[in-house]
């Protein structure tokens, strides 16, 4: 007798908790329109707002004259924990003063080894680096992940501190 009561009690308890759970899911079933929770990924690409601080990939900031602020001090290379940056510098003769100055030849960035930790951006004394908000970074070939950050033909902006 006892076991039958226990059995029936179990059933009613089960139905009870089922009901309380279904109330929650039922609410969302009938109110789905008001509260859209999931979106199909590429569909919202136009309206998608990426926060300005989002760390997608390291870039070098260039202005409209194709000039950047990097003087080749290699601070970013030293700050990087993963060796993702290699700054190749060059020495040229300054025509005005006749002294030789250091400029960057290539600022090589291995995206494949980057952990997006932001340390290089912070370390740069002339704010030449920044993070951009790109997020579709998958490629088919590993070589495509190596970038030269200074754009072709670019040169250093005037009066950048050394």
């Amino acid at each position: 007798m006892n076991s039958i009561i226990k059995y029936l009690k179990g059933i009613s308890q089960g139905l009870n908790t089922l009901w309380s759970g279904m109330k929650v899911t039922g609410y969302y079933f009938f109110n789905a329109r008001k509260e859209i929770i999931t979106v199909q990924y590429p569909d919202n690409k136009d309206t998608l707002k990426i926060p300005e601080r989002f760390r997608g990939r390291v870039i070098m900031v260039h202005d409209q004259n194709n000039e950047h602020a990097c003087n080749g001090c290699t601070m970013c290379e030293m700050a990087c924990p993963n060796g993702s940056i290699k700054v190749i510098t060059d020495k040229v003769l300054d025509p005005n003063t006749g002294k030789s100055v250091r400029i960057i030849d290539q600022h090589v960035y291995y995206f494949s080894m980057c952990t997006l930790c932001n340390l290089c951006v912070q370390a740069c004394p002339s704010d030449a680096l920044a993070m951009d908000g790109s997020y579709e970074n998958a490629v088919f070939n590993r070589e495509e992940l190596t970038f030269v950050l200074n754009l072709p033909g670019s040169k250093i902006r005037d009066n950048v501190k050394d």
């Binding site: 179990g10 089960g14 908790t17 759970g21 109330k23 899911t25 929770i37 601080r53």
Partner: protein, 372 residues
């Protein structure tokens, strides 16, 4: 050999490999189960599949660089892990960070804890066969990620704390966003109870399963909500307050049962405490610098240093031996997941295989934290 395996009742023990063990899964753990029928006789965790030798890597990194490695331990408590390294350096060099930094760190910690517990709540439902909880938990956690993303620039591996302060100041939206979120989440948290806590199937599968006694919790070093469910008062936020935890009021959730359901309950209750901590701080974030003056090259004095913090899974400790250079001589992370996993064999003996799923979920293991 054959004769040894056959027990007195004439049944034979056999082995089964259990656990997600595929290179593409996020947490790779192999449990070698010794079974007698459906009864677990022994559980032997095999770990090391996601070992990245983070402790060794840390020996070659400067103190600023080590911080970003700790993101990759317990990725759901990234912020707390970062803070452990930052606090260690600050204490070793006796740098006093501003009140603003302390309060922001505390708020961020509790947001991370909320997010971590939400994810755990979703996953435990899924482990028990309820897909709904997973979707609901991710709905709520997504908004925390958005808040984090706006201020720290990343959703998971935040690297927001640095020795001496913070990487960025708060986003100007932060306070409003967090307040809106708490208002929203306070209406959603009762749903968690309605969906799962009272569910008969769920309680049947967790109540009395995987009982961990207080003495065992202490001797195995089970900390965090799992330890507190057995009555082990081990909250570092209470015992050794750091950041702004000494100026907020909150309860340490202690239970006595020590079974899977108690572990479940202690986490759900902890979410309420996290909400209350954030509410106490969010309106009065003091002004101040976000970075204390630091030397460009951080060098710790010779000696040994230890710093502990409370992550979402328990006590996380960083132990550093320094020989006075800019990189540490030796680093050891005391990860909560490792100690919590060690008790798995002890508490699951004699239970059925299905119970092991409940025990594992309620211990809330994060495998990269265990393997390091």
């Amino acid at each position: 050999m054959q004769a040894e395996l056959i027990s007195k009742e004439g049944t034979q023990e056999y082995f089964v490999n259990m656990g997600p063990q595929h290179p593409s899964t996020h947490g790779v753990l192999r449990l070698l189960l010794t079974l007698d029928g459906e009864i677990i006789r022994k559980v032997e965790p095999h770990i090391g599949y996601v070992h990245r030798s983070i402790e060794k890597m840390a020996e070659f990194d400067t103190y600023k660089q080590i911080v970003h490695l700790t993101d990759r331990l317990d990725y759901l408590s990234a912020h707390m892990n970062n803070e452990a390294v930052a606090l260690l350096v600050e204490n070793a060099l006796q740098i006093e960070v501003s009140d603003r930094v302390k309060v922001i760190r505390t708020i961020m910690n509790e947001l991370t804890r909320l997010g971590s517990h939400q994810l755990w709540w979703g996953v435990i439902g899924m482990d028990m066969g309820a897909i709904t909880t997973f979707l609901y938990a991710f709905r709520d956690r997504e908004l925390i990620n958005d808040i984090m993303e706006e201020t720290t620039g990343a959703r998971l591996t935040m690297n927001y704390n640095t020795p001496g302060g913070l990487m960025f100041d708060l986003h100007h939206n932060f306070q409003k966003q967090v307040k809106d979120y708490l208002k929203f989440f306070k209406t959603k948290l009762p749903e968690y109870d309605q969906l799962l806590s009272g569910n008969v199937i769920f309680t049947e599968r967790t109540k009395g399963v995987g009982k961990l006694s207080l003495a065992d919790a202490i001797s195995y070093g089970v900390t965090g909500p799992s330890g507190r469910a057995s009555g082990f008062s081990c909250d570092v936020r209470k015992t050794q307050p750091y950041s702004a935890y000494d100026r907020v009021k909150f309860n340490e959730i202690l239970m006595v049962e020590g079974d899977s359901f108690a572990r479940y309950q202690s986490r759900v209750n902890e979410m309420w405490e996290s909400i209350s901590i954030i509410e106490q701080l969010i309106d009065n974030i003091p002004e101040g610098p976000i970075m204390a003056p630091m030397k460009a090259v951080v060098k710790l004095p010779k000696g040994e240093f230890y710093q502990r913090v409370e992550t979402a899974r328990g006590e996380f400790g960083v132990y550093v031996v320094s020989d006075g250079n800019k990189t540490p001589y030796r680093v050891k992370f005391r990860s909560p997941g490792f100690s919590n996993l060690s008790v798995l064999d002890h508490i699951s003996r004699g239970h059925k295989i299905a119970d092991l799923v409940a025990i594992m979920s309620t211990l809330d293991l994060v495998i990269p934290d265990i393997d390091r």
